[in-house]
Structures are given as structure tokens and as C-alpha cells.
């Protein structure tokens, strides 16, 4: 069944689950993932998945563990079901979600669990930094000592230069994310920050400071999807449908991108998603973007059509990204304050959109949200996965 507007068959959210992002030194990767998956299954009234799609980027490097799909399926008590892992650096979770959508759309399955999981804190900072740097081109970027923060710093300096952004012009992203996280009991940093805090933060890769960057930590998020024509979620809960799912890539190395500030893969990915959903930026009520660095939030807003080129930072400066603004972002804290669990991010975003659309976001609730978008980035915008979800009862 293809509803008017969307190119996708009816794919519904049966249940969602999250673990708080944090330094879970007492928990293993598999138990963090299980916690989120169990919560999603319970949320779905005990529905058992036929397949498990895992989004993860760093288990091979930091936990000497490949083959996570089967590890987690077995640990969850689903021995025998199909399982595999999807990786596109920080976009891994969104990629896993996209593949679940395709598998469901094919009709070959009707109940799929997607889990994004990351376990980073078993290792010390420099090993984690080195592992994260593998999201850039190992031979031509990482080998030069370039880190993800340095990539973002390069983009941010150029953006400030081209678009004449005043000092602390990006502060609004960080302030908004932190303010929103106060209402999210699962966020890593549940405290608001002031402009003075932002202005006095130490530099990471100038002009990018500590508050322009998201903290990385352990976490897992899970979402159980069904085909609406075969499994309709039971109960009172507002039904949520995936209207669009799109992925695009661009050159991996920043220096290979013809127009680094054009964020072209995000432009294509968001464009495809909106075309699939039959929507435009004005139809989106909230946007969980990948604010792993504040500059990426600005670029994501521009490439998705919420601001003109070079004007994304103004949305933050002018309060348009707050929960009551024109386009709320990072409504539960985003990567900046909820925390960034690497390859799990895309699934966190999808779950958070679901919580908002169902009115389950508690103190962080965005009023009257009916359509939400999530978008995660792998590398400096090299892989971009975009999903649009909506209340099925309002379509």
C-alpha cells in the first residue's frame, strides 16, 4: 500500500528503545545493545524480529569484534535470525535503518529490528581519536594527523571567512542543544550552558572549541519496524510511519570535495528524502540533525533547505532552532548534549523523532509535531542518511 505522497510502502514503527549515552564502564557492548533492543521489544508488545540490522563503526577497532550481527542476535535470544552489520562511519545507524526499510519494502520480511550501538570508553582517548580518524581518508588525511575535529575546524574557518560570521556566531547551536538536554533524562549533559561558558571554552581545533564539539560515549538505540500490511502495532500509541529513507555519498576526503561548504551529499540525501515523502522543508516540524560539530548543524540546515547558503548559523543566532522556533533541532540534546555514540547516532535520531511525534518526549516535547526528519553524517559529510517519519494518523 503506497499512501498518497510517499514512494515507500507502509512501514511502521512498532517499538523503540534507548540506553542513556555515557561511560558505561560496567557494561559490555552486547549488554548495552540488549538493553535498547529489549526496551524496543517491550515497547512493541513483545514482537519478535525476523532480522537484526546493526549499525556500528568502531567495534572492530576498539573491541576487536567484527560479526556483531550474529553476536547481538544470539545474545538477545534470537538465535537463527538473519543478522548483519552496516558501517558508514557516523552514518552507520542511518544506513542500517535504510537497509531495513529496503528489506521490508521488498516484502521478504515484515518485522525488522535495527540497533545502533557503540562502545568507546574501554579505550583511552588517543586510541579512540585514532579510531575515529579512520572515518577520514586513512592514506591522505588521517596519515597527516587530521582528526574529525580538525576537519570540522577547517570547514568552520572557511565558513566564517566566506560568510562573515561574527564571533561566537555558532554559539546558539550549543546553547540550544544543552538547553534541550535538560529535559531529557537519558542525555549525557543535562545542564544548560551560557554564552560565557561557550565563549571561554578551550579550543579543540581553532576556531572550533570544546562546546562546538559533541562528546563521544557508549550508547545504543533500537527501533523495531514492521510492514503495515502485515503487522499493525497494537494499543493506544500514535502510529508512526517512515515516509522517506535516502542515502547519498560524496568524496571521502575533504580536500576531494569540489565544494566543501556545499555539503553536497547532504543536499542530495535530503532532496531525495523530501521527494520520496512528497514534502518540502516547510512541512518538517523538527529536524534531528548530526550536530557532532556545530558547523555541521549549520551546513545540514542549509543543505536541507531550511536556510540559504551561508545563513544556517543565523537560525541558531535568532532562536529559530529552539523547541518553539521555526525548525526545532536537537530537541533532546542532539549529539552535542545527549551525547554522540558514533555509529548509533542515526538510530538515536529516529527514536527521538518517534518519541516527539508520539508525544512521549516529556519535558523536551516539541508541541504539535507531526513530521520529523533525522539525518546522520559519516565523516565530513561523505555519507549522509536522511529519514522522514510522520504520524500515520494525520496523513
Amino acid at each position: 500500500m503506497h499512501a498518497p505522497g510517499s514512494a515507500l510502502p507502509e512501514i511502521l514503527v512498532a517499538g523503540v528503545g534507548l540506553t542513556p549515552i555515557g561511560e558505561h564502564w560496567e557494561k559490555s557492548l552486547r549488554s548495552i545493545a540488549l538493553e535498547a533492543m529489549t526496551a524496543a521489544v517491550e515497547d512493541a508488545g513483545g514482537l519478535r524480529p525476523q532480522a537484526l540490522f546493526v549499525g556500528n563503526m568502531l567495534a572492530p577497532a576498539l573491541s576487536a569484534q567484527t560479526h556483531l550481527g550474529v553476536l547481538l542476535a544470539d545474545f538477545a535470544g534470537w538465535r537463527g535470525i538473519e543478522a548483519a552489520t552496516y558501517e558508514a562511519a557516523g552514518a552507520s545507524g542511518g544506513i542500517a535503518l535504510r537497509q531495513a526499510v529496503l528489506a521490508l519494502a521488498s516484502g521478504e520480511m515484515d518485522r525488522v529490528m535495527v540497533v545502533g550501538v557503540e562502545k568507546l570508553t574501554d579505550r583511552i582517548g588517543s586510541s579512540v581519536e585514532a579510531a575515529l580518524a579512520a572515518a577520514a581518508d586513512a592514506d591522505f588525511e588521517a596519515v597527516q594527523g587530521l582528526t574529525p575535529a580538525a576537519q570540522a575546524g577547517l570547514l568552520m574557518r572557511r565558513y566564517i571567512h566566506e560568510h562573515h560570521v561574527p564571533e561566537h556566531g555558532f554559539a546558539g547551536f550549543s546553547l540550544t542543544a544543552h538547553a534541550n538536554a535538560v529535559g531529557n533524562p537519558r542525555a549525557l549533559y543535562r545542564r544548560a550552558i551560557r554564552l560565557e561558558d561557550y565563549a571561554s571554552a578551550p579550543m579543540l581545533s581553532d576556531p572550533l572549541n570544546l562546546f562546538d564539539a559533541a562528546p563521544v560515549a557508549d550508547g545504543a538505540a533500537a527501533i523495531l519496524l514492521t510492514r503495515g500490511d502485515r503487522h499493525r502495532p497494537a494499543g493506544e500509541r500514535t502510529p508512526i510511519r517512515i515516509l522517506a529513507s535516502a542515502v547519498a555519498t560524496g568524496p571521502l576526503a575533504l580536500h576531494d570535495q569540489p565544494d566543501p561548504l556545499g555539503f553536497e551529499a547532504a543536499l542530495i540525501s535530503a532532496g531525495r528524502a523530501m521527494a520520496q515523502a512528497g514534502m518540502a522543508a516547510r512541512d518538517i516540524d523538527l529536524f534531528e540533525l548530526h550536530d557532532v560539530f556545530s558547523i555541521y548543524a549549520a551546513l545540514a540546515l542549509e543543505s536541507a533547505g531550511f536556510a540559504e547558503r551561508g545563513q544556517g548559523w543565523r537560525l541558531a543566532a535568532e532562536g529559530e532552532i529552539s523547541r518553539t522556533g521555526r525548525i526545532p533541532i536537537s530537541t533532546l540534546g542532539g549529539s552535542k548534549a545527549r551525547g554522540d555514540a558514533g555509529g548509533a547516532t542515526g538510530v538515536y535520531q529516529a527514536v527521538e523523532v518517534v518519541l516527539q511525534l508520539q508525544g512521549r518526549a516529556g519535558e523536551a516535547q516539541v508541541p504539535e509535531a507531526q513530521v520529523g526528519m533525522g539525518q546522520c553524517l559519516g565523516g565530513a559529510g561523505a555519507t549522509v542518511a536522511t529519514h522522514i517519519l510522520a504520524r500515520a494518523d494525520r496523513l
Binding site: W25, E26, K27, S28, S31, L34, T38, S63, D74, F75, A76, G77, R79, T121, D122, R123
Partner: protein
């Protein structure tokens, strides 16, 4: 081997603590949150005896990085007397030939070290049960 990771597994590695499923009574090692047999929650601790027998065994000559210093070493799948199987090295073999079915018991030995100044990782290995001459 990361300190926190080893710490999480200390009860298993030092003391062979597993679980018994409160629903179907199956004994589980290594422990998990969900019983692989009945699919229900299994978080009840169970102390294994450490006795078992060799289900299969082989000798590793080309060791993975981190284990080179110990090569060649013998690894086995042990069937514990309570039912589950576990992968572990055999130790204290002397000249004694190992066979499928050889009775073994758990002991604690070093299985790795993290560089010159890093953590020493101790864990279970299994040795043949001594019998009266």
C-alpha cells in the same frame, strides 16, 4: 585487552561463575542476559564446579597477535559437567597425551599481557585431572 573489559568478566575468568535459567533450569556459561534455550531472562548466578571433559582440542602454532609469546599452545572445547561447553587453553599437560574425553578441571593461569607495563590477564585454563597412580 582493556582493563574495564577484563574487569567485567572477572567472575567468569577467575571463578567460572555462570548462570542457571530460573525458567528451564539449563546451566549457562558464559553468562548471558537471555537464556539461549528458552529465550527468557536468565540472570541467576550459578557456580560451576570447574570439572569437565575434553570435547575437542588442537594446538596453535601460528598464534594471533597478542598470543605469540605462548605459542605453541593447546586450545580445547571443554564440556563442563553441568552441560555447557567453553573454549579454553589446556595447561599442565606434561607428557600426558590428550584425547577426546580426557577429564579436566579448571585452574587459573595467565592468558595474556598488555605490553611490557600493561595489565596481566589471568583466566581459566583446564588441566588433566590427576588420578592415583
Amino acid at each position: 585487552m582493556e582493563v574495564s573489559r577484563h574487569w567485567r568478566l572477572r567472575q567468569q575468568r577467575y571463578a567460572l561463575v555462570g548462570e542457571v535459567c530460573p525458567h528451564c533450569d539449563v546451566k549457562i556459561f558464559p553468562p548471558r542476559d537471555i537464556c539461549p534455550d528458552c529465550g527468557r531472562e536468565a540472570r541467576t548466578e550459578y557456580q560451576f564446579s570447574g570439572r569437565g571433559e575434553v570435547y575437542s582440542y588442537t594446538t596453535v602454532h601460528d598464534a594471533p597477535a597478542g598470543h605469540e609469546a605462548y605459542a605453541p599452545y593447546t586450545v580445547a572445547v571443554i564440556r563442563l559437567e553441568e552441560g555447557p561447553m567453553v573454549t579454553a587453553q589446556l595447561t599442565d599437560l606434561g607428557d600426558q597425551p590428550i584425547e577426546i574425553g580426557t577429564p579436566v578441571e579448571m585452574t587459573t593461569r595467565k592468558i595474556g599481557e598488555d605490553g611490557e607495563r600493561g595489565m596481566l590477564v589471568y583466566a581459566y585454563k583446564f588441566r588433566p585431572v590427576l588420578r592415583p597412580a
